[in-house]
């Protein structure tokens, strides 16, 4: 049972994740200090600027605590948060946590002019009507053996899970469709 969700609040769109959780009636806190992880059994790493969040994770001594947390608890990353969960090679100003076995390519669709919204196919409830925003979004590749695809856009994977952790290339926290957050809570509770 998810008792408390932490939303990593170093930079980015953490407030809208919090709003989603509030709407679902799920107990949650904004996490700004590593000690606050102890109270949580799911951590959300929001969208934002991945290089900024990567630096702030290190400057605020979050790297080890998040990696340890992820050994026994779930982490859910959206967009920048997904890039940080990946096992992508360290690049200039960006050091992923290596929590999940896949690679992410930043800004894979191009600059903001190529950002878009589109309807996703959700594998888990077999629907085609989840409207998602992709903002300077990444693409995933080199999916590890244990990785399951949970949603696609134009046949490409945009939501994945290894059973414990979850990641999306889009922003399920924007808008009023709570299905993604609700599904993840159900999986962790199952």
């Amino acid at each position: 049972m998810v008792r408390k969700v932490g939303v990593l609040a170093l930079q980015g769109n953490y407030i809208q994740h919090k709003r989603m959780l509030d709407n679902l009636g799920i107990n949650n806190i904004l996490v700004q200090y590593p000690r606050e992880l102890e109270k949580c059994d799911l951590l959300i790493i929001p969208g934002g600027e991945s290089t900024t969040i990567s630096k702030l994770i290190d400057r605020n001594k979050f790297r080890k605590p998040i990696m340890n947390f992820a050994q026994i608890n779930s982490v859910f990353g959206t967009c920048a948060g997904m890039i940080l969960l990946s096992s992508t090679k360290e690049a200039n100003n960006l050091k992923p946590l290596g929590v999940m076995d896949f690679k992410a390519k930043r800004n894979a669709y191009g600059r903001q002019v190529n950002s878009f919204s589109g309807n996703l196919h959700l594998e888990f409830d077999n629907s085609n009507n989840f409207k998602a925003l992709f903002i300077r979004a990444p693409k995933v590749s080199n999916l590890g053996k244990g990785i399951k695809i949970l949603a696609t856009y134009k046949k490409e994977p945009v939501m994945i899970s290894d059973g414990r952790h979850f990641a999306t290339t889009f922003h399920p926290e924007i808008g009023n469709d709570v299905r993604i957050h609700k599904y993840i809570m159900e999986q962790i509770n199952a």
Binding site: Q11, G12, G48, E49, L56, Q112, S117
Partner: protein, 293 residues
């Protein structure tokens, strides 16, 4: 598929929350900004403090310089066009900058009209001194609002005045009955539908950032505590003695804007801030915030 739609534009503004957007004039400065943890850079030829001293007409930057910065950093790159100069905005769109600032820091090109920003696929940010001005800009299609403050002054007083005005007026709207909103829209000179929306949601419909005079970690904390969701730092970083340290300190102070212990650490041992100007030293006809209609 929707590209360049309003929600996609506001989406990028949402991602920049809790961060610092830094003015840079060269690729080297852009790299310093990214290394410090900036969420975006604003590429411009002269920072506001220099525009103020140099005088003359301030225009859109050279595309070559913008491209150079785009090649250097991976974070979003913004650029400024003159108020009402939609041709400059079209050029910036062709360059695929990530955000356009229709800015009072440059010399206005139209003394009556702003750009109709819904015509563009790229999001725009505009300055505002009060709620009416913010809602007029949103009505034209701005996807982000920032206080104007007084750019290039290194003086936070005007940004504080503008943020307090916007927040106070939002709070006031929240207390009014529906029958009072049309008169309020008239007084604010703002579109009625947006006045109605703000009265209901009790915030701006787009992210509300602060700019104009932020020079220290404490300045950043002050405007964040007053209600800003991110800060722009123009002259404050590269007019200071040690830009890299100051840039990092301001990033840290935005993350922990309510934590005085962290702010004390961020504020420690920074070399001199930009010198700055008292607002009374600025001749009235050189006040940048009065540009915009």
């Amino acid at each position: 598929m929707g590209q360049g739609t309003y929600e996609v534009k506001v989406g990028l503004a949402e991602m920049l929350k809790g961060g610092v957007i830094m003015d840079v004039t060269t690729a080297e400065q852009a790299q310093i900004a990214e290394d410090a943890g900036a969420v975006a850079v604003m590429a411009l030829e002269r920072i506001p403090a220099d525009i103020r001293t140099d005088g003359g007409i301030a225009r859109m930057s050279d595309p070559l310089m913008i491209k150079d910065i785009q090649k250097t950093v991976s974070i979003p790159v913004m650029a400024k066009c003159r108020i009402g100069h939609f041709a400059e905005a079209q050029i910036l769109e062709a360059l695929e900058v990530d955000f356009i600032d229709e800015s009072e820091v440059l010399t206005p090109a139209d003394d009556n009209n702003h750009i109709y920003k819904h015509d563009f696929k790229i999001p725009f940010v505009c300055g505002a001194r009060n709620l009416g001005e913010a809602l007029r800009r949103i009505g034209e299609g701005a996807a982000m609002i920032r206080t104007k403050g007084e750019a290039g002054s290194g003086n936070i007083v005007e940004a504080v005045r503008h943020m307090r005005s916007i927040i106070n007026e939002i709070n006031l709207l929240g207390t009014l009955g529906h029958d009072q909103l049309m008169a309020t829209a008239r007084d604010f000179q703002a579109p009625f539908s947006l006045v109605e929306q703000v009265a209901k949601i009790k915030k701006l419909p787009v992210p509300n950032f602060s700019a104009g005079g932020i020079a220290t970690p404490a300045d950043a904390s002050l405007v964040m505590q007053l209600g800003a969701e991110s800060v722009f730092v123009g002259s404050g970083i590269f007019k200071s003695e040690d830009p890299a340290s100051r840039a990092k300190a301001i990033v840290d102070s935005v993350t922990h804007y309510k934590d005085a212990d962290k702010l004390a650490i961020a504020s420690s041992g920074l070399k001199s801030a930009m010198k700055g100007l008292d607002i009374s030293e600025i001749p009235e006809d050189q006040m940048l915030q009065d540009r915009g209609w």
